[in-house]
């Protein structure tokens, strides 16, 4: 809540802007994720902290799906039989869930950052 006090706010803002999460020169790691029968394969993606990744999400179903993750800040709709590329990271260690929004009960996966 200190974020909302004036001094705390500017301190947070400065901290956020100055150090920068070191614009990493590394190329993003690439992964393919396939949606089939409203399920992801693989359901788990592992990344190192601070790494960028490029996920190619292939929708092998005939129906559209929305690749969504509030944690990864991604929301992208994929028509049936299509693919999209989603860029994520750099991320802190932790787990970041993603879902297929149109079939949330089966289409579940997670990005694990260590």
């Amino acid at each position: 809540m200190t974020v909302f006090s004036r001094r705390g706010f500017f301190a947070t803002l400065t901290m956020a802007l100055v150090p920068v999460s070191a614009a990493l020169a590394d190329d993003p790691v690439k992964f393919d994720i396939t949606i089939k029968d409203h399920k992801f394969t693989p359901t788990e993606i592992r990344l190192k902290a601070g790494q960028r990744a490029e996920l190619t999400v292939i929708n092998a179903d005939a129906t559209p799906e929305e690749f969504e993750s509030k944690a990864l800040k991604v929301e992208k709709v994929i028509a049936g039989g299509r693919r999209v590329v989603v860029k994520i990271g750099p991320l802190k260690p932790g787990s970041y869930a993603f879902v297929g929004e149109y079939h949330e009960d089966t289409a579940k996966g997670v990005v694990i950052v260590e």
Partner: protein, 271 residues
């Protein structure tokens, strides 16, 4: 049917809330209903066209930089909203005062009314693409298509009712409070859209400056929940904001405050 109801309701709630807010903020403006209806219609047409393009896209078209298009739409809408919020701040007194019809017209003439149509069109189009694709896909899949469509229609109607309730709630307030609240909400919506737009551009162009996550309040209010979604729309709530998102959010608010204040001082007639 229940799943379709929930999905369509969630997607259309954002647009419903924004339409309600814009209608309230534009109170007193002639043609406001026409402008909002026009924006809604334009948004729907864009949504259907975009959904068609996305579903017939060949491999070459898969390279469409949707993030850039989405971000551009968000930033344009944010600028329009910011302009309107600042205008409302500068004319708070006239807005609140009982104005004659002629006075209202003069006031309205000064206001970039089409800007609100654009904001509505962007909100409807963004959520509409997803809804149209979902409904088209679900009905085309066969088996229970009709019930999916029915669920979707009910979802959209309930979302619209939420927007209407929000609008009616705002109108119950005194004019002064209503304009103050809707002005602030417009400013926050603008700030949230600007932050979203910049985050999309950062992702697309691999700009990692300020992408450090500042906090995680997902345990408090999950952004995927209905409350989280409504808060995201109305006040730009993000459960895990980055430094850049917060900076853009704050910069947008400060800009609106300065625009709203600066000109008020230079136009002493507005008291």
């Amino acid at each position: 049917m229940v799943a379709a109801f929930i999905i369509v309701f969630r997607e259309t709630l954002e647009a419903g809330l924004i339409i309600g807010l814009v209608l309230a903020a534009a109170k007193g403006l002639p043609w406001r209903r026409t402008l909002v209806a026009g924006g809604t219609l334009a948004g729907l047409v864009i949504a259907v066209i975009a959904a068609l393009v996305l579903s017939i896209a060949t491999d070459a078209l898969e390279a469409i930089p949707t993030e850039v298009i989405d971000a551009t739409a968000l930033l344009v809408a944010a600028a329009m909203l910011a302009g309107h919020a600042a205008w409302m701040a500068r004319h708070a007194a006239e807005l609140t005062r009982e104005v004659t019809a002629a006075g209202a017209a003069v006031l309205a003439g000064e206001r970039p009314a089409y800007a609100l149509s654009i904001v509505v069109a962007v909100a409807v189009a963004r959520e509409g693409v997803e809804t149209v694709l979902f409904l088209a896909g679900a009905t085309a899949a066969g088996g229970g298509g009709g019930s999916v469509l029915m669920g979707g229609i009910i979802g959209a109607v309930v979302a619209a009712a939420c927007g209407a309730t929000f609008y009616a709630g705002l109108l119950r307030l005194s004019a002064r409070t209503m304009f103050a609240i809707s002005g602030w909400l417009l400013a926050l919506v603008a700030a949230g859209m600007a932050a979203d737009g910049v985050a999309l551009l950062q992702q697309h162009f691999d700009v990692t400056i300020g992408t450090t996550e500042l906090w995680d309040s997902s345990a408090l209010v999950s952004q995927g929940s209905l409350l989280g979604r409504a808060l995201h729309t109305l006040i730009g709530y993000v459960e895990r904001p980055t430094g850049a998102q917060l900076a853009v959010f704050a910069a947008t608010l400060v800009t609106i405050l300065l625009l709203g204040r600066g000109s008020r001082a230079s136009t002493p007639a507005a008291r």
